[in-house]
C-alpha cells in the first residue's frame, strides 16, 4: 500500500513525463450549535424561508452582534482534536463585499488573528497533512436563482457559525484529498462540532491546486469552487491536474495556467474560469468594532479538552488491542461516532466483542443501506443496543441459527420488536429435537447413494451437500451442526 517517492505524482499520458500536483483544501463546516453565531435565532436546516431571522441576522439598522459561546466552545474542541494551537487572544474582522445574500454588506470573519493555528491530520497511509489555521466566521444567506428573472433570498442560513480549516498544500493526489476530507469529517463529527453533511451544505470545500515537474519550484495555483460532494472534489482535482499538465505541455504561452478561480461543472466534469486574479475582490478587512477581542483563558481550553470524546484513531487502536478486531473492522466501526458508541454498548451488554463486530459490520450495516428499510443511520434504529446483545446471546447459545439471526435482525428493522418475540412469532427456534431431525435426515438420504459411498470412503465433507435440503425441510429452524452429526451417524449405521 505504501507509496514510494518514485510513484508520487501524475504521469502525462501524452509525454510520459511525471508531474507533481500540489493540493491544499479550504473546508467550511457549519457548527452544530443551537443558535446562530451572533444572534438568538435557531441554527436549523430546512425551515421555511426567512423564518429563522431577527433584526441582527437580517442586518436591520442599529442591530449588533453578540458572540455565541457555544460556537466558540465547539470551535475550541475542534482545534484541540486537531492538535492545533489556540491563540490566547484573537479578534473578528469585517470582510466587505456586496451580494444579495450578505445582509450587512460584510461578513464577520477572522483575518490576521485567527483563533487557531497549526495542527493537522494523519492519513491512513501515515502521511501528515498540516493545517495552516482555522478561523471562526458567519455563513451568508442563500440566493435562489431558479425562479426565472427573480432571485429570492433566504436568510435562515445568514449568521450560522462556520469554521474554515485551511490546510497546507501537503496533498499530491485526489486520493489524498479524499482521505483528508474523510478524516476531517470523521473528526468534526466525533467531537460533535458539525454534521458535515455536504448535501445540506454543512460542509463545503474549495481546492487550491497547481502542478510542477519534480525538483522544480511550485507553479501558479488555481482555486476550484462549487464542489458539492467529496466525489466532485476528487473529480475536479483529477480534471484540473490533467488540464494544467496539458496546458504546460502544449508549450503555448497563452494556455499557461494563470492565477484564477475556476468553477467545477459536475455534469460536464470540467472546470471553467470564473474570475482572474485582476478581478479578485478587495475585501477591505478591518477589525470588527462591534465585538471585543476573543480571549481564551486556559481554564476554558481545559474544560473543552475534558469534554472531548476518545478520538477515532485512539479508538481504532483500542478495538484492535483489547477486542482483537481486525484493522478493517475497527476502521469500519469507528468511521461514525454513533456507530462506535452503539458497538461499545453492545459489547458491554454481551461481552462478545468479535461477535458484535461481525453482526454489526456485516448485517446491521447492510440493513442500514437497504432503501426498503426505514432506518438509514444509527440514530434512526427502531431498537436499542440491548436488543442486539440479546440477539447475539440467542445465536451464541444455539437457540437460533446464525441464518435465522439475520432474519430476526431484518424483522427488528421492520417492526422494532424484541428479538425474543420475533424468534417466537417467526417460528425460528432452532430444532434440536433428534426425532424430527432424524426424520428429515432420513428423507434426505433417500437415493443419495453416491454421497453415502463417498462418506463411507472417508470423504466426510461430502455430507455437506445433504445439510442444505434438511435445513430447507426444517424451514431454517434446524441446527446445522446437529444435522450434520445425525447424517454422519445414520450413514455409518448403514441402512
Amino acid at each position: 500500500m505504501s507509496t514510494t517517492t518514485q510513484e508520487v505524482g501524475f504521469v502525462s499520458p501524452k509525454t510520459g513525463a511525471r508531474w507533481i500536483p500540489v493540493i491544499g483544501l479550504e473546508v467550511h463546516c457549519q457548527l452544530k450549535t443551537w443558535t446562530k453565531l451572533f444572534c438568538g435565532c435557531r441554527n436549523e436546516f430546512g425551515a421555511p424561508p426567512n423564518s429563522l431571522t431577527c433584526p441582527v441576522c437580517t442586518a436591520q439598522p442599529g442591530a449588533l452582534p453578540v458572540l455565541n459561546r457555544e460556537a466558540l466552545d465547539l470551535a475550541l474542541r475542534t482545534a484541540i482534536a486537531l492538535g492545533a494551537e489556540v491563540a490566547p487572544r484573537s479578534k473578528f474582522d469585517r470582510k466587505n463585499y456586496f451580494y444579495c445574500d450578505l445582509p450587512k454588506g460584510y461578513q464577520i470573519s477572522q483575518y490576521d488573528q485567527p483563533y487557531c493555528k497549526g495542527g493537522g491530520i494523519t492519513l491512513a497511509s501515515g502521511k501528515r497533512v498540516r493545517l495552516t489555521r482555522i478561523h471562526l466566521e458567519e455563513d451568508a444567506g442563500k440566493a435562489i436563482h431558479d425562479r426565472g428573472t427573480t432571485t429570492l433570498v433566504d436568510l435562515n442560513r445568514a449568521g450560522v457559525p462556520l469554521i474554515e480549516s485551511v490546510s497546507e498544500a501537503d496533498m499530491q493526489s485526489s486520493q489524498e484529498a479524499g482521505e483528508y476530507l474523510d478524516a476531517l469529517k470523521e473528526l468534526l463529527q466525533y467531537v460533535g462540532a458539525s454534521d458535515c453533511d455536504m448535501e445540506k451544505g454543512s460542509l463545503r470545500c474549495d481546492v487550491n491546486i497547481s502542478v510542477h515537474p519534480p525538483d522544480e519550484p511550485w507553479r501558479t495555483k488555481v482555486e476550484l469552487k462549487n464542489l458539492n460532494s467529496f466525489k466532485n472534489v476528487q473529480a475536479a482535482i483529477e480534471f484540473e491536474i490533467r488540464r494544467q499538465v496539458e496546458a504546460y505541455e502544449s508549450g503555448d504561452a497563452a494556455q499557461r495556467p494563470v492565477q484564477e478561480t475556476r468553477l467545477f461543472d459536475a455534469v460536464a466534469g470540467v472546470t471553467r474560469s470564473m474570475r482572474r486574479k485582476e478581478d479578485a475582490h478587495d475585501y477591505r478587512y478591518f477589525p470588527e468594532p462591534d465585538l471585543p477581542p476573543i480571549t481564551i483563558a486556559s481554564e476554558m481550553l481545559e474544560r473543552q479538552r475534558a469534554l472531548l470524546p476518545e478520538l477515532p484513531a485512539a479508538r481504532r487502536e483500542r478495538y484492535q488491542k483489547s477486542f482483537g478486531l481486525s484493522a478493517y473492522d475497527a476502521g469500519v466501526l469507528t468511521a461514525d461516532r454513533a456507530l462506535a458508541d452503539f458497538f461499545e454498548t453492545v459489547v458491554r451488554l454481551s461481552s462478545k466483542p468479535k461477535e458484535a463486530a461481525n453482526l454489526i459490520t456485516n448485517q446491521l450495516l447492510r440493513n442500514l443501506k437497504d432503501p426498503e428499510l426505514p432506518a438509514s443511520s444509527i440514530d434512526e434504529l427502531p431498537f436499542r443496543a440491548h436488543d442486539i446483545a440479546v440477539l447475539i446471546q440467542l445465536i451464541e447459545s444455539g437457540a437460533i441459527s446464525g441464518q435465522a439471526g439475520g432474519k430476526v435482525l431484518r424483522a427488528m428493522f421492520q417492526t422494532g420488536q424484541s428479538p425474543k418475540d420475533l424468534v417466537a412469532s417467526l417460528g425460528l427456534e432452532q430444532v434440536n429435537d433428534s426425532a424430527a431431525l432424524e426424520g428429515w435426515c432420513r428423507e434426505a438420504l433417500v437415493g443419495k447413494d453416491k454421497i453415502i459411498a463417498d462418506v463411507k470412503a472417508g470423504k466426510t465433507k461430502a455430507v455437506g451437500a445433504l445439510v442444505g435440503p434438511v435445513m430447507k425441510a426444517s424451514k431454517g429452524s434446524a441446527n446445522p451442526q446437529v444435522v450434520q452429526e445425525i447424517l454422519l451417524r445414520l450413514i455409518s449405521e448403514g441402512p
Binding site: V66, R94, F98, C100, D282, F286
Partner: protein
Amino acid sequence: MSRALPIQDACAQAAAFRRGESSAEQNVRDAFDRIDALDGSLNAFAVLERERALALAAAIDRDRANGIAAGALAGVPVALKANMCWEGVEAHCGSRILAGYRPPYTATFVRRLLDAGAIPLGMTNMDEFAMGSSGENSAFGIARNPWDKSRTPGGSSSGSAAAVASGMVALALGSDTGGSVRQPAAFCGIAGFKPTYGRVSRYGLIAFGSSLDQVSPFARSVRDIELAMHVISGVDSFDSTTAQLPPLEADPSDADLKGLRIGLPREYFPNGLSDSVRAVLEAAKQKLAALGAELVEVSLPHTPYAIPTYYVVATAEASSNLARYDGIRYGKRVEGDGTLQGMFAATRAAGFGAEVQRRILLGTYVLSSGYYDAWYNRALRVRRLLRQDFDLAFEKVDLIVGPTTPTPAFRIGEKTSDPVAMYLSDVMTAPTSLAGLPGISIPCGFVEESGASLPLGMQIIGPALGDTRVLRAARVFEAATDHHARRPDLKPLEHARA
C-alpha cells in the same frame, strides 16, 4: 401658550407627576402645543408620533391611578433622534435611503426610557446618518437655531438640540460620534453629555462610526442629564462593547470644586479665538477657580492630528456600516440596469446625499488594499497617541476644561461649500471621542454677533469612566452661574393655543 411655556426641567416634571400634581397626558398635550407653536420655524422634529405618545401617556396615568410605582421619568415627554430604533416608528436617519423605514425592534436605551415612564414624542431632524456639524445634510429640511434662526443649531443632533433649547421638551437624546451632541449643545446654550464609550448601549442606534458612536442626552440642567443617564446607562447583553457596570449614579455633593485639579490644554485655547470668546472663557476659568478648583495648564500635543484621524477612522467604519443599505431587505430601491450590481449602485446613488457619498468613498479608500497601512493603520496609531495624551494629562489633573467649539453657532450656508471648514468645528470634541472619554458641554456665557446674543459652550472632559466626576463638576459650575437659565426669545406661531 401661557400654559405650555415656560417648561420645567425633567426632574421637576417627574416629581410633579409623582406627587399627582400633573398628568402624563397633559404633559404630552402641552409639549405638542409647544411643538405646534414653534416647530414651523425651527424644524426640530422630523417625525411626530402623537397617537402613540398620547396612548403611552394614558397608560402611565392609568398605572399611577392603579397605584403602580412611577418610574424615574414617568410622565416626562422626550425627543429621540431619527437614528434611534423604536419599533414601528420611522427612523429615516435624515436619509432618503431610509425614508419610511420603520424598525421591527426597539433600541435598548429607548426600551429603558419607556420602562422608566418617559414618553417619546417623535424623532428629531439630523444630518444624514449623523454626518455633519450643522444639520444641513438632512434630506428632510434644515433645523434652525432658536437663538438666531439664520444660524445652525449645530449637528448632527440638530433637531434634538433645537427641541430642548426652544423648550419643546426638557430632555432629548442625540448621538455623539465626534461632537454631534456637545457641539449643538454649545451652539444652543444647553447641556449635552457624551458618556464614556461603552457606558450606554448602542443596540438600536443606527451606526455611523461604531467605535465612536455613543448615545448622549441633551437637557437644560445637568441634573436632568444625570437622571437620563441613570435611566439609559449600564451593561447590555445585546451590545458587547458596553462596560460591565450598573447604571450611572450621580454624586450628590455639590458644594464646590475644592480639591479638584482642572487641566486647561494649551491646544484648546489657540490664538485664533476671538476676543469676545476669549473673554467668556476667561470669566469661566475665574468662576472655576472661585469654586475652589486648582487650574493647571496641560498639553495635549497630538490635538492637531485629531480631525484627520477622526475622518479616517469614522469614515472607514461608516463605509462598512452603510453597506447594508443595498435596496434588498428594506429602504429605498432603484432597479437600475437590471443587474444586481446595477441595482446596488442605482439605489445608493439615489438614496445617499453628497456628504454621505463623500464619506463612504473616503472610508472605502482608506481601507483599500495598498492604502490601508498609510491611512487606516496610521490613523489607529495616531488614535493611540491621542489617548496617550489624555492618559498623561490625567496623571496630573482630575478634569480637563476648554471651549466646546472655537466659535458660536455659524450661519446656515456659511460652511456648506467647504467640507474641511465644516469638519474643523469638531476640533475640540473629536479628540475626546477618539479616546472614548466622557465630556459634557454646558453654557458658559454669551457673545454678541451681528445683533444676536449667541451662547458659548464649555467642555468638561474626564478620564475613562469618570462620568460621575464630570457631571458633578458641571452641576456645581451650573449652580454658580445663570447662563443655563437664559432663554431664547421665541415668537410662537399664531395658531398656537392661547
